[in-house]
Structures are given as structure tokens and as C-alpha cells.
Subunit: 456 residues, 2 copies
């Protein structure tokens, strides 16, 4: 359904002619996400330059009953930022001002369109860091990261995006602007709307700016790569290190199947003389050198088959490469189905033990590659060898997750990709409460329809 | 308005005769909170023993249009748990089971009625601790602490109650049970209802159980009491220590006016030979002795006039007493007005500089005593010498808070006490969004009416 001319004209009046993109080649980058698995088409991409323009656009859309999809860096993995049904795309990337950085208190205000890398660069020179880090840092925007409650490798120590938020500015579907960004470390004055919007995937409001808490920079890092007999052993190591070393920042796990791909495609030597059933990568970060306490802690733990520790940058990078180059090495083999799940820590071993059989039971040709954030109970289940639309293995994995009390999405969100399975881990009462909240804040249903809340 | 007999009969059928209290002497303890400033009356207190009973009670109340006030340990400070308009009191104290403690992952599930002290005792024997601590630990319940997003002295390091929540079970006003408590460290599958309920003060749902994250016990503690020239200097010290010592757990501030009361009423010697304009108490906690690094860090900071450091328990307690005995020492002088406010850290000095004049401008006989959590920008403004219902100084202080971009409630909540001032720091858009959410989840308005959301 083409948009009425007067709608497009009004849109251009608000944002400026050259910020309303209707030509196919200009729209294309906004219609497909970077997984290239999710794409749609939009009659127009609008790129507002201010919160007031966002508000005016929302009022216009609501008046005309035009649905829209808010979009940040378009680095999502579940199709939550792509126009699936001809929605207008509301790109927030022009809201890219770093408005206020206070090195004394360790806080920063960033527009929704500021990239993670920009925030990191702005604060590192002053001895601060940002608690969330992830591979798409050069493209992922702060607004999108809050809207999806992005995670990454430092959640173990600092929490996800939700935990970094000190304030939010967002526009409701009627154009009203929620603005609460004084940078207060405590605030118990009514409902915490920022926490409700975090992880709501653009369905309740359009986030336009965020006040973020920073963490002190920890200049000295120690990385250990450990070979262990199974994921239970890996979890015992994480538990022991976590309890004695507050400097523990990351605890990543992977398996021989992934290591083989990484060593082959990234041309890396195997880390140890023998292969082992499970690998655990730990990183500690502190003001001083943590390698001796880390080695001491590890020496007291039974069941570590082999280990390597590095403190200098090249050595640390070398160890991290075995974990970090999983994604690209998997991609060389094909386009995987990616399932991002969490289990209660106590059920993670049973899940890991059963999931491969569950996958091959659904499709014998499937080749699972698992890796993830052991400290958080979060595994990324990549499945190679599947047809793009063969959802049977996905279904089998997510049912196993539900059976074991886990979540069908740990950090990627629901988007449209996980909608068919949301009922597995969110009860009817949960989903009805979510729908009631959606109807309360977006009664016309114009914000990211079909995401999180099923279409009516 | 007395309750219909058939309502009371149905209530007794659900919870058992002896758990529906209608006799005045049995009700009395539930009608007045421990400040003794807020009281009301209730026709009945009901004490359910299970989540199913809570759900049945809510269905019954909704059917009869009977409003109710959820109540935990009744240790609130803003009148949020007291029946002001003849509401039924729903006491959650019987939900006192510690259902699941997993020492491996550091998680515990507690019924809403479990006290903070019970959780602390349960986990300490296994090397864990709970991130939130506060003086009312023997009475305050986990459910009430989540409902009010309680804070305390460890927020600087671990966050408030909101940050400890891994899952929640709660009953909506129609009796539907939200239950999401697998203990997942990450979960991005739709709206985070637990985070919405945290701090909603019993107005959206009745919390019946919570899954909580624990923190590793830190056996060695170092406490420093510092004399500094003003609160700006105190904040500079906190900022410097925070950036280099992740073990910093508390940063408390007080002033000569409070120290004089404490030394007089608690019969303590003055801590230093001279008196000073501002005092800062720091506590670090770690696996090893932090006193040397703390002393080293402090030695490099200009503007510290005097200092004392203690690592043994008696020495630490002696230093903490100057801060902890403020509340009781103030009480000896009279019943204070208590205002619990946060400021952006950068505005805290201006606030502290102006607030005494603002108070005496409103009432010359008023005697302010300030203390609080410097690391969080959170001051407790106690005002002695006021008539109980003289709100002019309160009004003046809260307007100053609003002018400086702060919050009228840092950790106590809004209750009924702060309702007249909520508009100062929550915009019309904020309050309309809150009302929309309230109407969505509690359309009949039976849950804690008049708290956070004004009566219709």
C-alpha cells in the first residue's frame, strides 16, 4: 500500500527532504539486516535529526495510522528492526550527539544513534570504560542496544545494557516525550519506565537518548585458556574463580567442533598438544596484575587438563582469537541457524549433553556448533547444514530449552524470528500482561507491529 | 464502610479463620508503620499462606470491589504499606519459605515474607552474601524490599534491590499469576515485568516470591573515616577511590551537626581532635587486606584533613557507629521530618550548600541534620523542630531538589507521603504513562490505591 502523498510531504516537512528516503537504492540498506536473513521493504525511510522531529513523526504516523519500525545500527539478529509489512523505517542514526560526559561521576549522555565504539572512545581517554562490549561495536547504536537490552562478553561482571541505564529519553506513540535523564544513581519515584523500555524492542516507545553509567577502566588484564573435561567442569571453575576474584570479567566456553573450524579457517595453531572435550576462556581485569592470583586460584581447582595464561596484549589476543573467530569461521561453512539461549546454570550441562542429539534427531545432516558465555548460562547454538526455512531443529532446541527452564532468547531478543516460540517460556499470564502494557502505551499499535506482541 | 459478611466469610475460607484478623488489638500492628507517623485502619488483615491463596484473595477483592494494601515487614518510611482509607491489609509475612538456595550459581529463591536477615544468614555460611543491606534487616521482607526497590549502604558496589532480581512471582489484580523464576542471568524474551514491578510499591501486582542473585562474600574489610573541608572534597575522594578500588563498597557522608548529636546521645568520643566541616566514611571489602592500598590511594588525594583506618571488627564498628547511630540520636531529639533525596553528583555540593538556608527560610526554628550515601548522591535530610503537619520546609527542600535535577525519593519510595510532590520531578508525560500502565494491569484500581498513582 503506497503512502499518501500528503503523508510523505508532511514527513519531508518535519525531517527535511533529503532525510526522507524513498528511492529503492537509498532504502535498500535499511530493508535488510546484517544477518541478510531478514529483509522486507519500506515505502520510506525517515531520518529525524532531533527528539522533536521524532515526536512530530510519531504524531503524524499515528494520525495516518501508518506503522513504523524504529532502527538503530541495524545489527540485530532476530529481524526486529526490519520492515516486514511495508512499515516506514524510522532511523535514529542521526541522533548521534554525545551530549554530556562527566568524568567526575563517570556518566555520559548519548543520543540513540551514537555507536558503542564512539562511547568507548569518548570515555577511555578519561580513565573510564563502558560496561557492555560486543563485536558489532562500530555499527550498533546505544538506542538499539537499550531497546534490545544487548549483552555481550562483560555481562558476568557489569550486567547488560539494562544495568548501565541511569536515565532515558523516549517518545511515546502519541508524540509525548518521556524525559528523565538527570543521571541519578538512585531514584524511587514511581515506575521505572526506562527499565520497562529496555528490552522492549521498539514496541512501546522510540528511545531518543540515554544517560549511561560508566565503569572504571581496569588497565591490567590476564587471560587464561583452559582445557576441561566437560561443561560441568567449566562451570565449577567459573564458580570458584567468581567467588574469589571480583576482577573476573568474562568466562567463555567452546567445544572441539568450533575449535576445529576456527583453527582451519582462521589458520590458527591448536592451543594445546591434545584436543579436549571443552574449552574455557577467562579474563580478569584490575588495577594490578591478576595473573598470579588467577594462576593460584586455578591451581587449587581439580579437573583442569591444560592451560595457558597471557597478560600482554598479543598473548591475550591470541587466546581470545579461539573464541572470537567462531562466528566468522562458522560463516565460511555456510549460513547457520543461530539460537541464542540461556539455561539456569545448574541445567546447562544437561542441555549441552542433550542438544546435539535433539538437533540430529530433527535433521540428521545438521551440524551444531556451540559456544557462548558460560558465566551467564548463555549458549549460542549455531546449526550448519540446514535449509534456511527448515525450522524443525530450531523448534527441537527451543523446546529442550523450555523443558529445562531456560529462555529462548538470552541477549538477541525476540524480534520476529522467535515469535513462534515465545509461548514456550512466557506464560499466558505473562503474555497477557505484556499485551495490556503494549495497548496502554501504543493503543494504535503503530510501533514495530508483530514484534514481541503478536499482531491482533 | 464495613465489609459484607459474605466477603469476610469467603476470605476466611481461603486463608483460614485464624489468618483473617478483625479484632482491633490483632489489627493494630498492621495499621501503623514503624515510623509511627503513618497510620490508618483496616476492617481486616488477611495473611495468606501460599501464592494460590493470594490469587484467590485478589479475585475475591476484585469481585467485591474491595481495595487492599499489600504489606511486608511494615518497615516503610513513606506510608505506602498502611491502610489509609479502610483498605484490607494483605500481609505477605507467612510466605516465608527459602525455597531454593544454589551455592554453585549463587542464587536463592525467597518467599515475599522472608526477612532480609534470614536470607543473609542462609547464604553466609556458604561463602555468599546478599548485595543489599539495611538497618531494618530483621523485619524488612524481600517482597517489600523489591516492591519498594530498597537501597541501603551497598548500592555503590552492588546496586539496589532492582539489580539483585533474577526472577519474580507475582499475582495480578485479576488473580493471574506471573511466574518467571528460573534464575536466568540473561533473558531477553519480551518485557521485563520483574523490573516494572520493582519499585511499583504494590500498585501493579502482589509479589509473592523472588529469585535473587547473590554476591561473593568478601571476608576482609577496611574502613576509613575521613575529615574533609566540604562535600565537594568528599566527592572528589569518592571519585578517586572508586576509580582505582573496585572493592569500594560504601561511601557515607555526615556533618558536624549530626556528629554532635551522635557523640552526645550515644556517648561516643569525638573521632578527631578538631571538628571539621564534613566527614566521609569509606568501606572496602575484598578477599585480601585492602587497608594498605586504601591508605595509599588516600595519601595521594589532596584535601583530607584527618583520617582513621580500621580493619579489625571492633575498630570498624567504632568508626561505623558515627554514621549508623545518626538515626537513633536524631530520634532522641524529636520526631524528624525525613526527606530522602538524590541529586546528580555534580549538583550535590550546591544542594548541600543551599538546603539549610532553604529550610530555615521556611521555618526559622527548624534544625536540619544531613547524612547519607555520598557515592550515590543520596542525602537523608532530617529536619527537627517542626510540627508534624508543617510541610513548608519539606516543600522548600523538595523544590530545591527539583530545581537541581534531583529526585524527591532516592530509596524510600513515594507512598502517600511524597504524592503531593511527585509532579515536581516526574513530568506530565511520565505520570500519564504510569497511569496508563496502572490502568492496564489493575483496571479496577484495587491495589494500594492512592500510592504512586493519584486516586481518580
Amino acid at each position: 500500500v503506497p503512502l499518501p502523498d500528503r503523508f510523505l510531504h508532511a514527513l519531508a516537512t518535519i525531517a527535511g527532504d533529503h532525510h526522507v528516503l524513498t528511492e529503492p537504492d537509498l532504502r535498500a540498506g535499511y530493508e535488510t539486516d546484517w544477518t541478510r536473513r531478514y529483509h522486507g521493504s519500506t515505502p520510506a525511510v525517515v531520518r529525524p535529526g532531533s527528539t522533536a522531529e521524532v515526536a512530530a513523526i510519531l504524531r503524524l504516523c499515528r494520525e495516518h495510522g501508518v506503522p513504523l519500525v524504529p532502527q538503530g545500527g541495524n545489527t540485530g539478529l532476530v529481524g526486529g528492526g526490519v520492515p516486514h509489512n511495508g512499515e516506514v523505517v524510522l532511523s535514529l542514526r542521526r541522533l548521534d550527539a554525545v551530549a554530556a560526559f562527566d568524568p567526575g561521576s563517570g556518566e555520559i549522555t548519548a543520543g540513540a544513534g551514537v555507536t558503542l565504539a564512539t562511547v568507548q572512545e569518548a570515555v577511555r581517554a578519561q580513565g573510564w570504560n563502558f560496561g557492555v562490549d560486543l563485536a558489532s561495536r562500530d555499527s550498533a547504536t546505544i538506542g538499539g542496544m537499550v531497546a534490545t537490552n544487548a549483552g555481550g562478553i562483560r555481562v558476568l561482571r557489569y550486567g547488560g545494557m539494562r544495568q548501565q541505564i541511569l536515565g532515558i529519553e523516549a517518545v511515546l506513540s502519541d508524540g509525548a516525550v518521556l524525559s528523565r535523564m538527570p543521571g541519578l544513581l538512585k531514584d524511587n519515584s514511581g515506575y521505572d519506565l526506562a527499565q520497562l523500555l529496555a528490552g522492549s524492542e521498539g514496541t512501546l516507545a522510540v528511545i531518543t537518548a540515554v544517560r549511561l553509567k560508566l565503569v572504571p577502566q581496569q588497565p591490567q588484564r590476564a587471560v587464561a585458556l583452559l582445557a576441561v573435561e566437560d561443561i560441568s567442569a567449566a562451570l565449577r571453575v567459573v564458580s570458584a574463580v567468581r567467588r574469589t576474584m571480583p576482577s573476573l570479567e568474562a568466562a567463555e566456553v567452546f567445544f572441539p567442533e568450533g575449535l576445529e573450524l576456527v583453527c582451519r579457517h582462521a589458520r590458527l595453531p591448536y592451543p594445546f598438544p591434545a584436543t579436549h572435550p571443552c574449552y574455557l576462556l577467562l579474563e580478569c581485569a584490575a588495577q594490578g596484575d591478576e595473573s598470579a592470583p588467577l594462576a593460584g586460584t586455578l591451581a587449587a581447582i581439580a579437573g583442569i587438563r591444560d592451560s595457558a595464561i597471557a597478560t600482554d596484549r598479543p598473548g591475550r589476543d591470541r587466546l581470545w582469537a579461539y573464541r572470537e573467530r567462531h562466528t566468522e569461521s562458522i560463516s565460511v561453512e555456510g549460513i547457520p541457524h543461530k539460537l541464542d539461549v540461556t539455561l539456569p546454570l545448574g541445567r546447562l550441562p544437561e542441555f549441552e549433553h542433550r542438544v546435539r542429539a535433539v538437533i540430529s534427531g530433527a535433521e540428521p545432516a545438521a551440524r551444531p556448533v556451540l559456544f557462548g558465555h558460560a558465566g551467564d548460562g548463555n549458549l549460542h547454538v549455531n546449526i550448519l547444514g540446514l535449509a534456511p526455512d527448515d525450522d524443525r531443529p530450531d523448534d527441537a532446541v527451543l523446546r529442550l530449552v523450555a523443558e529445562l527452564g531456560g529462555s529462548i532468547s538470552a541477549e538477541h531478543g525476540i524480534g520476529i524470528a522467535k515469535m513462534p516460540w515465545l509461548h514456550l517460556t512466557r506464560s499466558t499470564a505473562d503474555r497477557e500482561a505484556m499485551r495490556a502494557i503494549k495497548s496502554a502505551l501504543d493503543p494504535a499499535g503503530i510501533l514495530n507491529p508483530g514484534v514481541v506482541i503478536p499482531r491482533a
